[in-house]
Every structure is written in structure tokens, then in C-alpha cells.
């Protein structure tokens, strides 16, 4: 279960047509739940564990979990991007709850909450 979207934290980027999580997944794995309108992950087995979705969500609503096949429950890794966009702090929690933090230089470009799709009339990305 590599990536989990917490429905309580996701505000659907205020009803955006193309929210950042949808744009950033190289495998097109996010979609709008046709029933609830919330963002859901299509299929955990298709996930590459590359994490742009986690890093880009303004609400920090997406959590990365290692699939149970590979590692034990409760361990967590959360990236927090600094307001200056020059640093990223990774919060690592092991299975015993020990917290470790890594602050690394980066260069995060601003992302729009919504984006028009070139050559495509605005459509709902849920199908």
C-alpha cells in the first residue's frame, strides 16, 4: 500500500480540474472518485514509490507507506518543504516511533493548484 490519500486532509485543491497530485504522478495513478469527488489512488501495485505526489500536496494529505511485503507497519517517511522552497525536511519515523530528521538543499518550483491542459478542452479527469 505505497501511497495513501487521507480523505479528511484532502480539500481536492478547492475542486481543481488538474490538482498537483494528479499532474505529478508519472504513472497517472490519481483520479477523482466518481462517487465522492475526492482524490483516490487507482492501484497500489502500479505505484513506483517515487513520491512527487507526496511532496507536492499542499495539504500534506498524501502519505507514503512502504508496502507490507517490504517493510513493517507504522514506519513513516514524510517530506516537508520549507516556505523558502530551498530546503526539504524529511521526517523519518521507525517502527519503534523513533523520529529522525534530514534537511536537504533542493530547488522546489512553485506549483499551481490547477492547470489548463494544452490542446484539450477542460475536462473532468475522472473517467
Amino acid at each position: 500500500m505505497p501511497v495513501v490519500v487521507h480523505a479528511d486532509k484532502c480539500n481536492t485543491c478547492h475542486g481543481a480540474q488538474n490538482p498537483p497530485c494528479v499532474r505529478m504522478c508519472p504513472g497517472d495513478l490519481f483520479m477523482k472518485d466518481p462517487k465522492t469527488g475526492k482524490i483516490i489512488m487507482r492501484d497500489p501495485s502500479e505505484c513506483w514509490d517515487c513520491l512527487p505526489c507526496v511532496k507536492v500536496c499542499p495539504q500534506e494529505a498524501i502519505e507514503f507507506k512502504l508496502s507490507y511485503q517490504l517493510g513493517f507497519h507504522t514506519a513513516k517517511l514524510m517530506p516537508h518543504i520549507h516556505d523558502t522552497r530551498d530546503f526539504i525536511t524529511w521526517e523519518l519515523i521507525d517502527t519503534k516511533g523513533v523520529v529522525d530528521k534530514f534537511t536537504i538543499r533542493t530547488k522546489v518550483l512553485p506549483v499551481e493548484l490547477d492547470e489548463k491542459v494544452e490542446g484539450v478542452t477542460a475536462v473532468d479527469f475522472s473517467i
Binding site: 500500500m1 504513472g27 501495485s45 514509490d49 517515487c50 513520491l51 511485503q69 517490504l70 517517511l77 490542446g119
Partner: protein
């Protein structure tokens, strides 16, 4: 299915590493030309770079030259590479790296402002955001970007590529992009073989699972000449996460050891460089240890300090964050216990190995109007990000020049409607409620055939004539099944075409492996019936061309040419 028709001077298919740099170069050199990128995902985070990078793996550190680079790459590829391609690519490393640094990529420097080397050819970067940085550069120069458009075939008019057709996974529209010149940059192919992990970690592969060999397949269908598919890439990776090991091996100088604690590379492979042996041997060595009962195999990191362990984790966070969580979730401290490694399933890539389009020094393929760059282009291994950038630049310069001399071709309407019918068939199968095959099911079938008969991990990557002939026969029945594939939605439709493409790549690959009757790259493709490297007969490239009319794949050879003098089996 509505139709969007776009006319552009240059079409770049695949907006990854190579594609973005090609777009920038084109707009800088030829500001009057219109440039369009067709990308199946969103260029801000697509392809291999989606997670980020922690090093530029091909760079000429002080004291190295294009010639010394060729010597090393030739040694690393067991004596055979396209030296002309490797030379021209390395001449542009500096140009590309400086450019990307100017766009904002943080590169680690010492107090004097010099890049920090990691081994002979690597420099360290904070490349977590590398992909958005180059994507922005491509956008800023005025490239038209078609995100979420999956390329399915070239538009072939009188033997020339006159653009390409794709479909949007957002609204299902067919995109017909007519171009004077086309650059293919869709990366290599993952998912041909059964992955190391199954179940909910099926896509936990090393190579980007969304690069599915579309560029190879489009070229194969159009009759382009392909080279060296039999040089499959099988990497040594950290077990389970499949994270790259260079970060550890080069980053903290960790040797390989077997379960008895023996440094087997240093002893058994001393004659070809020990832990510095050519890359295929660094996979073959541990594989033999495991096969002969001395596994598991590790990278010995027990000498590193806690600070070095932290630095290692930081480096992985820039490129492969799941590695760090894996350690935490399994209570592993790499400074206290060695890191277990395993080999990956085989990938077909022109970047680490040299499978792909047969190109000339300008990255022009054998088809008029078509240029290839990056992992989709053959003959020049050891490309990594910087080599892909360089090839994007070279292809852009040549394609730009060509586009100025030609006009748009007239595209027959039947050609477009035939492709539309082919593209949409899996969706129609669903709406007509036909019984059928899901793309995933066919993928697993393909992977099972390849795993068992065409040298997958379970058979230690070994092949022989008889097994390969079974693979050939089994694969030949798959295209007859394409008409039963069902796709419930546009995401499924993309997956349907991914598996169709993969089958063609697999068929071509099997022909290549059957033809080369020697073992040039042990571990990558070990032939149990021809166990030795045979320079007498096989110092040449194995190439294929599929006849678009009959579907027959012709296999033939091209000579190797040595340009840089010296012993081909020595790294200097």
C-alpha cells in the same frame, strides 16, 4: 474519438531528460521553428527522473578526456561500443551540465567552487527537483507541450516519418501531430520480464515502470533498424527496494561480500578489475555466489561511521526515498550490518546498456525525418542523465537543420483512420461487452514466457537455443490475441497499448539473443551453449529490421569500428 490536428516544425516524443534538453536547444538554435513535445504523463515529473537524482553519472572530472571516457565505456561494455557516438556525447557533458546548473540545479561544490567527484565519472548533486527544473526550461523557451498524450505510431509517408499519432488519456481525443522532423525520446523498456516483487509492490522496479518501450515498438513497426537488444541491462540493486547501489558502492566504497564474508569480486574477478570490473561482471559475480550456495550477497558497509550512514540516507532521499524508509521499517542500520543486494529483472535500455535505434553520429535513425536520443537510442551505453542531455542536443541540432529544408508531407486520411481504429479497439471491446483479456493479464503472460524461456531472474539470466525457440513460438501467438484486449477507461487503454508495445519489443529481443552465438556480457545474457566471448566471430553489432509489410524480422550484423586506440579490455 474527436481529432486534434496540430502542425509543428519539430515533434519531440517523450518529454523526459533527453526530450526537454532537445526542446531547449531547438528553440535556442532555431528560434523560428515551432517545437512540440508529446508526453504521456506530465512533463513536470515524468520518466526516470520523477523521483530525482543524486549524482550526474557521466561527467569528465579533472584529468579525464573524451578519449579516456571512450576507453572506460568500451572496457565496461566488454570491448564493443559505437565509439563515434560515445565520443560525440562526452564532448557535450560540460555544455549540458553547466546549462542545467544555470537553470537552478544545486551541484555540490568544495570550498574552491569545484564540483565534488564521486569516482571517475560522477559528480554529486541535490537533484530532487531536477525534472521540474528542466521541464520549466523547456516551457520557458516556448515549446508547445501536449501532456497526457500517449504516442502510438509514427505517421509514415513514402518512407519518411511525418509526425506521430497519439491519444489523450484525459479526454480520449486522437492527436495527429504533423511534423517536418521528429525526435523520439521515450526512454527504454521495463516490464518485459517478471518483476522481482509481486503483489502490491509489482511496480517496485528500478527502471521507470511507465517507460514501456513505446519508442522501440513504434520504430520496429515502421521498419527502423534496431541494435544490440541482446545486451539487456541487469543491475545490481539493494534487495527488495531495488534501489541503485552506486550510491553505496561509490559513495562509501563498499565491497561486495558473500555469506561467508569473502570478498569474491576482489579474488575471483581480479583479472578484470575486481570490484571495479565491467558492470555486467558486477552482477554476474554475485549471481554465481548465490547459484553455488554462498548467498546471500551483501555490500559491506560495516566500516562506515554513523555520519557516513546519515549522508548515505540523505543521498537516497534525493533519488530513491523508499530505501531510507525500508531501513527504518526493518530496523536496519547500514553502519552495523551489510546491505543485502540482488539483481533486477532485465530491462531494455540504451542508456546503461546499448539497445535501441541504430543511429548515425547526428542521432539520425535509418528512417528519413526521424532522430533518436536518450535511452531509446542504441550503441552508446553509459549515458545516464548527462549523456541523454547531450544526445538530445545533438539530435536537436540535426533535426532543426533538416526541418528547414523540407515541407510537411501530405498525410492520407486512411492512414489516420486506420490508426484510430487500432488505438480505440480495446475500448470498443469493452463497450460492446465482449469477453476479453485485461492488459494486466496479458502483461503477466508475457512476463511468464520471458522469465522462463528467455533468461529471466529465476533462470539466472541464462539462455540457450532451445529455450529461446520456445519463447519465440509462444510470443508469436500473443499478437493474435491483441484483438481481445479490453480497456474499461482511458488509463486502461494506455496500459493496453503498453502491453502491445512490450510484446513487439520482446519478440525483437528474442531474435537478437538467438543470433549472438557467444557470451559477451555474462550476467546480462549468459548463453549456456556458447559460453565464451568470441572476438573472432562476434566483434560486431547484431541488428534487426522488421518488414512492415510482412512482419518478418530480419537479423544481420554491422561492423565495429575502433576509433580510440588502445587495449579494448583495459579501462585506461
Amino acid at each position: 474519438m474527436e481529432q486534434n490536428v496540430i502542425e509543428t516544425d519539430i515533434l519531440i516524443i517523450g518529454g523526459g531528460t533527453a526530450g526537454c534538453l532537445a526542446a531547449v536547444e531547438l528553440k535556442e538554435q532555431y528560434p523560428n521553428l515551432s517545437v512540440t513535445i508529446m508526453e504521456k504523463a506530465h512533463i513536470d515529473r515524468s520518466g526516470c527522473l520523477a523521483g530525482g537524482m543524486n549524482a550526474i553519472n557521466a561527467y569528465l572530472n579533472p584529468g579525464e578526456t573524451p578519449e579516456s571516457f571512450v576507453k572506460y565505456v568500451r572496457f565496461d561494455s566488454c570491448g564493443i561500443v559505437r565509439e563515434d557516438l560515445v565520443l560525440t556525447m562526452s564532448e557535450l557533458f560540460e555544455y549540458c551540465v553547466k546549462k542545467v546548473e544555470k537553470w537552478g540545479l544545486p551541484i555540490l561544490c568544495d570550498e574552491k567552487g569545484n564540483y565534488i567527484p564521486r569516482g571517475r565519472w560522477n559528480i554529486k548533486i541535490n537533484g530532487e527537483s531536477l525534472k521540474p527544473i528542466i521541464a520549466r526550461a523547456a516551457k520557458n523557451v516556448g515549446t508547445k507541450i501536449l501532456n497526457w498524450v500517449v504516442a502510438t505510431n509514427y505517421i509514415m509517408v513514402n518512407g519518411r516519418v511525418a509526425g506521430a499519432i497519439g491519444f489523450s488519456i484525459r479526454n480520449g481525443n486522437l492527436f495527429v501531430v504533423k511534423a517536418k522532423a521528429t525526435i523520439i525520446a521515450t526512454g527504454g523498456a521495463a516490464g518485459i520480464y517478471k518483476p522481482n516483487n509481486a503483489h502490491d509492490a509489482q511496480h517496485k522496479t528500478w527502471y521507470c515502470p511507465y517507460n514501456t518501450g513505446a519508442g522501440f515498438a513504434m520504430g520496429i513497426r515502421a521498419g527502423a533498424e534496431m541494435t544490440s537488444f541482446e545486451m539487456r541491462y541487469i543491475g545490481l540493486r539493494v534487495k527488495d527496494t531495488i534501489a541503485p547501489t552506486g550510491t553505496i558502492a561509490l559513495g562509501v566504497g563498499a565491497p561486495q561480500i558473500n555469506s561467508k564474508g569473502e570478498k569474491f569480486m576482489a579474488t575471483k574477478y581480479a583479472h578484470i578489475g575486481g570490484d571495479g570490473a565491467p558492470t555486467p561482471y558486477r552482477s554476474h559475480g554475485p549471481l554465481q555466489e548465490i547459484k553455488e550456495g554462498r548467498g546471500p550477497v551483501f555490500l559491506d558497509t560495516r566500516h562506515i561511521t554513523p555520519q557516513q550512514a546519515r549522508d548515505l540516507k540523505s543521498a537516497y532521499l534525493d533519488m530513491y526515498p523508499s530505501m531510507v524508509l525500508y531501513w527504518a521499517a526493518n530496523e536496519i542500520d547500514p553502519s552495523k550490518e551489510p546491505v543485502e543486494v540482488q539483481t533486477t529483472e532485465p530491462y531494455i535500455v540504451g542508456g546503461h546498456t546499448q539497445s535501441g535505434y541504430w543511429v548515425d553520429v547526428n542521432r539520425k535513425t535509418t528512417i528519413e525525418g526521424l532522430y533518436a536520443a536518450g535511452d531509446v537510442s542504441g550503441g552508446a551505453p553509459y549515458k545516464f542523465v548527462s549523456g541523454c542531455w547531450a544526445e538530445g542536443v545533438i539530435a536537436a541540432r540535426a533535426a532543426g537543420e533538416y526541418a528547414q529544408k523540407v515541407e510537411h508531407a501530405d498525410v492520407p486520411a486512411e492512414l489516420i483512420s486506420a490508426e484510430r481504429d487500432r488505438v480505440i479497439e480495446p475500448i470498443l471491446n469493452f463497450t460492446h461487452k465482449k469477453e476479453g483479456i485485461k492488459p494486466y493479464d496479458m502483461e503477466v503472460r508475457l512476463q511468464k514466457i520471458m522469465e522462463e524461456y528467455a533468461g529471466g531472474a529465476a533462470t539466472f539470466y541464462e539462455v540457450n537455443e532451445e529455450r529461446l525457440l520456445v519463447a519465440r513460438r509462444r510470443l508469436a501467438t500473443l499478437p493474435e490475441q491483441f484483438k481481445y484486449i479490453i480497456a474499461e477507461d482511458l488509463h486502461d487503454l494506455m496500459e493496453a497499448h503498453e502491453v502491445i508495445d512490450r510484446v513487439l519489443v520482446a519478440q525483437t529481443l528474442v531474435e537478437h539473443m538467438l543470433f549472438r552465438k557467444e557470451t559477451r556480457w555474462p550476467g546480462y545474457c549468459t548463453r549456456t551453449d556458447y559460453t565464451e566471448l568470441d572476438d573472432q566471430n562476434w566483434l560486431k553489432f547484431v541488428n534487426t529490421r522488421r518488414d512492415p509489410a510482412t512482419g518478418n524480422i530480419e537479423v544481420f550484423t554491422r561492423p565495429y569500428e575502433q576509433i580510440v586506440p588502445g587495449d579494448r579490455y583495459k579501462p585506461r
